[in-house]
Symmetry: C2
DNA sequence: TGTCAATATACGCGTTTGCGTATTAAGAGT
DNA sequence: ACTCTTAATACGCAAACGCGTATATTGACA
């Protein structure tokens, strides 16, 4: 899986949605794993800015993902190393 | 700057605190940049689990950081220190 | 076009945010 | 010990969360 960059709640939600679908899970199934409602997963993936950190971390955990914090790259869409 | 891994709100808060100090900013100064109170920055860095995504993303932006979502590595960096 | 699965949205509720304002506690240095 | 800066905590408030429950709405496909 490619490393996905998120600089906004919307981007983060989109990444989570893709990751969930890659694992062939429905929002309800993911919610089941982490004791959150399907509706809550929906809002998270939509990128609702007031979503709680707890919700994000739970989803990441269930999807076997982790966060990396790093300095912003010059080019947002991709890595320079990938180009050259 | 090395890439820091966060699997919990607490770890995320600790990373943000280090990044802020590296840039010689006080909580109040960081708050000023993103129109959040010093108290709000304090809670974020403490790893309050119900902190809003908006708050996280704003802080990352002001610190010129970005998030990367990736599959979990086998051994987390925190565990590495315990082993060696 | 109709059906079914999946996702988005709604209501009332208890909880917690971030707010303004302010105070308290902790750290660093002389 | 004292001072100055910085960080943590407190109060009351409006807003939004995630909850249970339930209902739209969407999308895919026979």
């Amino acid at each position: 899986m490619k490393q996905e960059i998120a600089r906004s709640e919307k981007q983060l939600g989109a990444i989570l949605r893709r990751a969930r679908k890659d694992k062939d899970l429905t929002q309800a199934e993911l919610g089941e794993k982490i004791s959150l409602r399907q509706a809550t997963v929906s809002k998270l993936e939509d990128g609702a800015p007031a979503t709680q950190l707890r919700t994000l971390m739970a989803a990441l955990s269930a999807l076997d993902l982790e966060l990396v914090v790093r300095p912003r790259s010059k080019i947002s869409s991709s890595n320079l190393e990938d180009i050259f």
